[in-house]
Amino acid sequence: MSVQTSPQPADVTPAPAPFLDVRDLRVHFPTEDGLVKSVDGVSFTLEKGRTLGIVGESGSGKSVTSLALLGLHKGTRAQVSGEIWLEGKELVALPETEMRALRGRTVSMIFQDPLSALHPFFTVGAQIAEAYRVHHKVSKKEARDRAVEMLKRVGIPQPERRVRDYPHQFSGGMRQRAMIAMSLVCDPALLIADEPTTALDVTVQAQILDLIRDLQEEFGSAVVIITHDLGVVSDIADDILVMYGGRRIEYGTTRDVLKQPQHPYTWGLLQSMPHLTGDVGERLDPIPGTPPSLINLPAGCAFHPRCAYKGWVHEGRCTVDRPELRPVSGTGRHIAACHLTDEAKHEIRDGVRKGA
């Protein structure tokens, strides 16, 4: 798959194009109250066999981004612009009929709550088989066998029997396994997992995350995992994209972002999480305030009303100028959107460590 034969966009450099290349993606929803800019200029790339974690709180635009990758905003009132290049195909402008041929086959998705994402009136087996038959001309029997095989692969005991069960007869963890089986049944090149473990217990979550990782190695697909949990991305992702108010605020390798975070919002997320080790006398350091309204995003840096360090930046730039994403010195491709100078960041981070 690494050989690129597909046509390239005209303005791209001769370097091999990435498997997935999202450029300046915008998803806006017109409402009575105004234009909701759920995603507002998001770009990222992803290679096969790699995992990208998109992190953010509710309303950060992470789920809307994932639906755009599947073209599920087509035919709704959402206004999508920008480009999504997948294996040389541009998806934003792709007609619905052609997009439909890719859905479930080239791009597939694992949803958050498997109980509501699986149809209550059809058996698990029928739903998996259906996903296979949409894209493959096979008999019902063959599709069913394929469903059994997939259920077996994701660790459902007695798959021949359980294939006839309804979703409500499965436990939470088994339902998510069935969902994974369904999303992988056509061997997709890109798998999107939207909060795949949020509804699950912690021991089951660990099993499911390991399963996704195992299957990714086996199938060689690219994975985009959407989550609010930095622990989950740390566990599974190669790269992290932190979103706030529909925009990127920090993007880099997992190690860079978690070990050398550059944006005060990322600091805040990390410091507000309690840990399993370390000093318990230490107070959590929450981010004050609440996530912003996507209709009237604060001017300048969208995070400035909640930022404790805007005093470190001269002349109130944070409230006026929107910070550009700048490369972090001494790293490969770690970028962050903050007006703070490197010196100021060092000073602040040192202060935090000392205070701890």
Binding site: S58, G155, S171, T203, H228, S272, M273, T290
Partner: protein, 367 residues
């Protein structure tokens, strides 16, 4: 804060060492009925099946476990929102196990509950002021400064604007609603608050705000807490003592230092190893245990040790004999473990334990 003195004044005169809450052999079985005309009981969900614990004044006990372990039911039994099937609950020297609601008034004042869902636990048709004042009025408490003033003080205590007294719950965000729920529970100056997953419905950054608030209240007013959560890190942060529950039983209880660094029960090990941490180095450092399957049904729990069906150390004895919750050899006093074959008191492990048959098999699938 203007309320500090009156609240602490109420709780500091208790003799230390005496327990505020004593729970013994607590049980809750929800009957399952079936029948054509006359319904007969054909089984029971063993939600809570004989647990003991105690909470001292001003102390915080964490109850942690996965769904179906009975932690929320336990919270509802203590606050008598549910009628226990067996065992006893002694609160503040009074046996409230089967106390009829009419006579619960005294205990009700001192025993409050905070719920998980900040959206459904507040009446949308009442103003914030009414919501906070109602418990005072129902209990005939007339603060010298008047109900309204007191309610506004409480709003300030939980970090809300007292001028929002006349607003309705839908005008607040999730985190703010949880603060309203906390203000309501504080209205009666309780000695014990049972907090059932108080932060799990909130965004990460908001979670920390609420956890800090609860911690401040605990320290300032000396309120004891039973803190129920599935998030092990949050429980560790909040509670000095932590009890791990599995299928209606406490399998391990200890002070947090001992439980989180020297756990003895295999299930506690599995739980701790499963928590994802936002530290790329932690992945290499920690033991890796991946259980198989899900928690069995509480309708027909396994005999003997309930964890044995998912345990890598299980032997015949585990099926026949229920392990008592006792101090394992090598554990400090107060660290109790219900296991016949306790683990070493360390989090280091040479080899991964992977019981899930779907993991690490690398079975090729033809497409």
């Amino acid at each position: 804060m203007s309320t500090t003195q009156s609240l602490t004044g109420q709780t500091t005169d208790r003799p230390t060492g005496e327990n505020l809450l004593e729970v013994r052999g607590l049980q809750k079985h929800f009957p399952i009925r079936q029948g054509i005309i006359f319904q007969r009981q054909i089984g029971a969900v063993h939600a809570v099946d004989g647990i003991d614990f105690s909470v001292g004044p001003g102390e915080s006990l964490g109850l942690v476990g996965e769904s179906g372990c009975g932690k929320s039911t336990t919270g509802r039994l203590i606050t008598r929102l549910l009628e226990p099937t067996g065992g006893s609950v002694v609160f503040d020297g009074e046996d409230i196990t089967h106390q009829p609601p009419a006579r619960m008034r005294e205990a009700r004042r001192n025993l409050q509950m905070i719920f998980q869902d900040p959206y459904s636990s507040l009446n949308p048709r009442h103003t914030v002021g009414t919501i906070i004042e109602t418990p005072m009025r129902l209990n005939g408490i007339n603060p010298p400064q008047g109900h309204k003033k007191r309610a506004q003080e409480l709003l300030e205590t939980v970090g809300l604007n007292p001028e929002h007294y006349n607003r309705y719950p839908n005008e607040f965000s999730g985190g703010q609603r949880q603060r309203i729920g906390i203000a309501r529970s504080l209205a009666l100056r309780p000695k014990l608050i049972v907090a059932d997953e108080p932060v799990s419905a909130l965004d990460v950054s908001i979670q920390a705000q609420v956890v800090n608030l609860l911690q401040d209240l605990q320290r300032e007013f000396g309120i004891a807490f039973v803190f129920i959560a599935h998030d092990l890190a949050v429980v560790r942060h909040f509670s000095e003592r932590v009890a791990v529950m599995y299928l209606g039983k406490i399998v391990e209880v200890a002070d947090r230092e001992s439980l989180y660094t020297r756990p003895r029960h295999p299930y506690t090990h599995a739980l701790l190893s499963a928590v994802p941490e936002a530290d790329p180095d932690a992945v290499e450092r920690r033991e890796r245990i991946r259980l198989a399957g899900d928690v069995p049904s509480p309708i027909d729990p396994p005999s003997g040790c309930r964890f044995r069906t998912r345990c890598w150390k299980a032997q015949d004895k585990c099926a026949t004999e229920e392990p008592p919750l006792a101090r394992a050899e090598g554990s400090p006093s107060g660290h109790l473990t219900a296991c016949h074959f306790p683990e070493e008191p360390t989090l280091a492990r040479e080899e991964d334990i992977v019981l899930d048959p779907a993991l690490g098999q690398g079975l090729p699938i033809e497409t």
